[in-house]
Symmetry: C2
Subunit: 397 residues, 2 copies
């Protein structure tokens, strides 16, 4: 327990300790750790108490810390845990704690390559039924490999950034039209942040040697633009206008109690995707809120492919990995209607509008809509581990 | 004419002047300009003769110069042209000139996002016939928008880098196999290097305010991996192992005499893609060599979409543009069989192997194959403007 006297089920207790980059009072960006509803800047603290690591937090990003690798990640986490639980440090740390409300976050690392996967069987099946009715919902390759594609790293933005509705082409009947997207959607995903790069393929068992932690990710999607453009080379402008991520990265070290086996896979995957003994399913429950109202609770534990399998697949062809590479899980959807992670699925392609608490109906997003995604996982001794919120509001085109 | 007394048709005469980053004697990387078969390092030269611009060349990349914009690009080019043509400068410059053979090039800029288009009607039509026989060769969207997708910027490598044959999954009959790609291919393309970023859509007419210059680009492609993975989200591991580009960037300013109108477009594109009065077709002839033998001469002038249209499309949804963004044209193929820019097309999906000068036959690449792509364009007064070679040799998996 921390001397901060947080509620035992606080999702950002001493078992979580996510890292971000904050601008205290709107000033200079600096790395920080989050505890409860406070941010603790890391450069001054490590300068006093862990001087050999202070250089890792001297810049305006977490890049150097991410690159430092698992031994350093563990050392810093152990030190923070000690300082925040041993009352003897209270006097030294307390003056540095800043209210989160005074600390806007910025993008916490330099995004190298951004890849998005498609790892939920329920999501892929729903999309297949909506987009390709009468055909098998999953493509023949789906259970043999984690399908993925590269997205635009230059438009990954931090939680809270407003999102402008994109313009683009769409096909309506036989006509080609241009204008603001009329089917602007969300995709509730988990994102994985690479710390340590690699010049060789990363086996499933070495996942935690390379991936530092997780964020929530909203893969904003313009369904009308996407539907017209995506054959044969995949999504492009329907996705590239914005991808939002949490301002705080929850380290994998906080998610040990959340690890679980994935579903039984049939057919059995090729050996490089076999995760026996290296299961990285994660028992996380997401919540999607539209203007404050919860519209879905997607369960992450049922994802078909784990992030360790995604990483093994992404590098098996010899493609190198870099510090700052980010990859998304793809939309998290469960088997139940209220567990779907996109409006496309929740409204079944627009055919079944949602009725909100204020009696308004919604298929896709309208101007001013605010979407927030949160998640938490089981921690030790009944505690909860939070993944920081990702939120964004829609501006007109 | 330069005092270097180059042949009048030398593709790297004073009308070309491409920029790169060299390691003289294998030492520290530094920006340079190429003249004839020499490299001229820019930091010492500008330090002496154009001191207000010397800072742009003080680092190990061209990033600062690219970001500086068209006025500075023109100022530096005008100065270099004067120094290399006025014999009065010969004494000052000649000692700095280094033989290219002693100057290996490195990747000349930090690649931000990498996008690959699909802008040759002949290529897209050939691929459609090979992959989807019996269906219309072009997808319904093809003549309405320049189809593109994001690739892996972390595996863009400089000309001369050896390329390891990728491993991956492929479907053979009903079996899923894993192993080294058996259908390793090339794609001969032109690449466009963004200098000045943008937070708003870039109209066709503002192309040259943002794009600095061009490189040759070899989009290495594992056709067996690609064919199995690419539905529905596009190419991924079949492309992400390596993309090679020239070590020297030829500025757009050198290509004024090469500008031409694109083909007549029917149907007429939407207004944001209308390039009337801003035609950026380019009359370049590429040559593809396999182990020294020319196997194809793809003409760039017949590309359906121009790079100005590609840029307008890529940003029309509001996606921002950054210094170092790189985009490829897609394979350049002409209407004739010996103008096709990929082995997939040259061997018609492997059904019609090429016979080489040594009587060996080839469908796709084998271990040790060396592929080189060169190109040139008309310059003023009958001169030729070269685009520096991109070359690479295949290593085993």
């Amino acid at each position: 327990m921390s001397w901060l006297e947080l509620a035992p089920d606080h999702p950002f207790g001493v078992g979580t300790l996510p890292y971000g980059v904050v601008r205290p009072g709107g000033g200079v960006p600096q790395p920080a750790v989050r505890i409860g509803d406070r941010a603790l800047p890391l450069a001054p603290l490590t300068g006093r108490l862990l001087n050999q690591r202070a250089g890792l937090f001297a810049s305006s990003t977490l890049d150097a810390f991410l690159a430092a690798g698992p031994a350093v990640w563990a050392e810093v986490r152990a030190a923070l845990t000690e300082w925040l639980t041993d009352p003897g440090y209270r006097g030294q740390l307390e003056p540095d704690l800043l209210p989160l409300a005074d600390c806007p976050t910025v993008l916490p690392f330099t995004v190298a390559d951004y890849v998005d996967f498609y790892a939920s069987e329920h999501h892929a099946g729903n999309v297949g039924q909506i987009f390709r009715p009468g055909q098998p919902p999953l493509t023949p390759n789906w259970k043999h490999l984690p399908i993925g594609y590269h997205g635009r790293s230059g438009t990954v933005v931090v939680s809270g950034t407003e999102v402008r509705r994109p313009n683009g082409q769409r096909k309506v009947g036989d006509a080609i039209e241009f204008g603001p997207s009329l089917r602007l959607d969300i995709e509730a995903e988990l994102g994985f942040v690479v710390g340590v790069g690699s010049d060789r393929p990363v086996p499933v068992a070495e996942f935690a040697e390379h991936v530092f932690g997780v964020v929530l990710l909203n893969d904003w999607s313009a369904r009308d633009i996407q539907a017209w453009e995506y054959v044969p080379l995949g999504p492009f402008l329907g996705k590239s206008f914005a991808t939002s991520i949490s301002g705080w990265i929850t380290p994998l070290a906080a998610l040990e109690s959340a690890r679980c086996a994935g579903p039984v896979r049939d057919p059995r995957p090729l050996p490089y995707l076999d995760d026996t003994g290296a299961e990285w399913g994660l028992d996380l429950e997401l919540a999607v809120r539209l203007n404050g109202e919860t519209i879905s609770r997607p369960p992450y534990a049922q994802m078909y492919w784990t992030p360790a399998q995604m990483l093994a697949h992404m590098t098996v062809n010899g493609a190198s990995l870099r510090t700052g590479d980010l990859y998304g899980s793809g939309t998290v959807s469960g088997p139940e209607p209220d567990q779907r992670g996109s409006l496309l699925e929740l409204s079944w392609g627009g055919a079944e509008p949602l009725t909100l608490a204020d009696d308004s109906v919604r298929t896709f997003l309208v101007y001013g809509d605010q979407v927030s995604i949160t998640a938490s996982a089981p921690g030790p001794d009944g505690s909860r581990i939070g993944i920081a919120e990702v939120t964004g509001r829609i501006l007109p085109a």
